[in-house]
Amino acid sequence: MSATDTPAALPAPDTARRSPWGEVLHSLLRSGTFLTGLAILLFWVVCALFGEHFVPYDPLDADIINTLAPPSADHWFGTDQLGRDVFSRVIVGSRDILTVAPLATILATIAGTALGLVIGYFRGIVDDIVSRVLEAFMAIPVVIIALLAIVALGTSKATVIVVIGLSFAPIIARTVRSAVLAERELDYVAAAKLRHEGALHTMFVEILPNVIPPILVETTVRLGYAIFAVATLSFMGFGIQPPSPDWGLSISNNYGMIGGGFWWTVLFDAMAIASLVIGVNLVADGVHGAFND
């Protein structure tokens, strides 16, 4: 082993000089906000991946003689109206939202980045028209778009991913566009043009790597909003469908009874959503801080 080898702790095979990414990573690992958020997020990711192996009960198993039992030693979070263990359901309930929301965010990032690169690079009339359409689109609340799309297309996880992904794409496109507008004036873009590189090459090979930081920041912020949106749609009955133990769905099935004092059927799900959303926002805040310091 030579002395120039990168230490194993660094994930990316960095070049000899200290890369800007190394610095970002360094400041991330010192940010309390980021680490707290990451811990919360990782907890739920572990629950989503392995939760079903360590929960005490099957989250879908009904126990008819033991319905709506308050929290006890047997059932830490009590049972719901079908006698299902709320603790197990909350743990495993992270799975669907942690599949749908990230996929929607990835879709939004890919579509938004491509769109933003194109309108930022070409500017002119393409930019004018597309930007106005995007503005109009952004003015409509996601819930309303989702409602209409789901009425037209029917409810499924795929519909939710596509609806949320496409409603968030304009926001990412706007961010990418403004980053590209600054980049396209720089010398390396002029050099690429002088080399007669095609527009596609210039956009995706030359400019794209330089606008990654704002995209990354926007993506983490969007993930928070995607979780917000998925949870809300599930609560409205337009998102994840039964018998999934999804949090929003559980709240929607049980909140009608809270007047009767069955608080444990909704409180833990609500807290779970709250912790996940805050966790992701802390991560987003940390990433934003790391790139802007």
Partner: protein, 296 residues
């Protein structure tokens, strides 16, 4: 700043919304074979024409004209939104101003972090927690926004406090954050320094110079949150079983009651356009530069 206002608040966005909405309507109509024998443009034209004449169509479910339902629901939603706005605008601005005047001190941290945390939570989550605390455990407030028929204004207000709180919480963070950053910027500006150096009392500087400039971007934010508020209404009205425009759209969407759905959404589009216009107007009234021009 004026340029920013022009970018964020163009009066034609509201009108532009009608485009995508109409298109969605057309898509829906096509999908469900609603009078597809006529060309879509003709259908759309007749529909708009009738709408402008107060005829919003006939509900499929209730077998009755849509208009009375929509107008009732809109009135209810306006009440709810009004309660939320009346609470959140002064408190949010006050929170932001206090945070900015105590920049980086514990009070600022508490307001900023607290505001941010409640802002990112979905309304139904804060709604559920508030219902549990104030409705179920403390029994201070009713858990459903359904007051007895013929209830007075105060009773209605009493029933509306709990539903308006989740909206309040979501908006509070945005407004406080904008007010805070507007204040910080204004406090740091040359005109504030000039005012201080000219020997004006600190209180006068804050009221006459800083606040007026600091609140301009905040008004812009409040206006852009109208669209957001409408989305929030759909959720809140469902949660609290409140007969507003949000739950009307929700019920219509579930029951595939298209005339009702279209009328509800077009109404929202109009409300949004009007809100944007009002914000534009307020902005110009409050902007000292514009008023100065008028005086000369």
């Amino acid at each position: 700043m004026v340029f920013l206002g022009g970018q964020v608040l163009p009066g034609n966005v509201g009108r532009a919304i009608l485009g995508p909405f109409a298109d969605q309507r057309a898509v829906d109509a096509l999908n469900h074979s609603l009078g597809v024998d006529r060309p879509l443009l003709v259908q759309y034209g007749t529909w708009i024409w009738n709408f402008l004449h107060g005829d919003m169509g006939t509900s499929y479910i209730f077998r009755a004209p849509v208009a009375p339902f929509v107008i009732d629901a809109l009135g209810n939603s306006m009440k709810l939104a009004l309660v939320a706005f009346v609470l959140v605008v002064p408190i949010g601005i006050l929170g932001g101003v206090i945070a900015a005047l105590n920049l980086n001190r514990p009070l600022d941290r508490i307001i900023s972090l607290g505001g941010l945390s409640v802002t990112v939570l979905p309304e139904f989550v804060t709604g559920i927690i508030l219902i549990l605390v104030f409705g179920v455990w403390l029994r201070w407030l009713p858990i459903a926004a359904a007051w007895p028929k013929g209830a007075g204004v105060l009773t209605q207000l009493y029933y509306l406090i709990l539903p308006s709180l989740p909206l309040f919480l979501v908006l509070f963070g945005y407004i406080a954050r904008m007010a805070r950053s507007g204040m910080i910027e204004a406090l740091d500006s040359d005109y504030t320094r000039t005012a201080v150096l000219k020997g004006l009392p600190w209180r006068t500087v804050i009221w006459r110079h800083v606040l007026r400039n600091a609140l301009l971007p905040t008004i812009t934010v409040i206006a852009t949150q109208t669209g957001y508020l409408i989305g929030g209404l759909v959720v809140i009205e469902t949660l609290f079983r409140y007969q507003g425009i949000g739950s009307l759209i929700f019920t219509a969407a579930r029951g595939k009651d298209f005339p009702m759905l279209e009328a509800g959404i077009l109404t929202i589009g109009i409300v949004y356009a009007v809100a944007t216009l009002v914000a534009d107007f307020l902005y110009s009234v409050l902007n000292p530069r514009i008023r100065l021009g008028a005086e000369q």
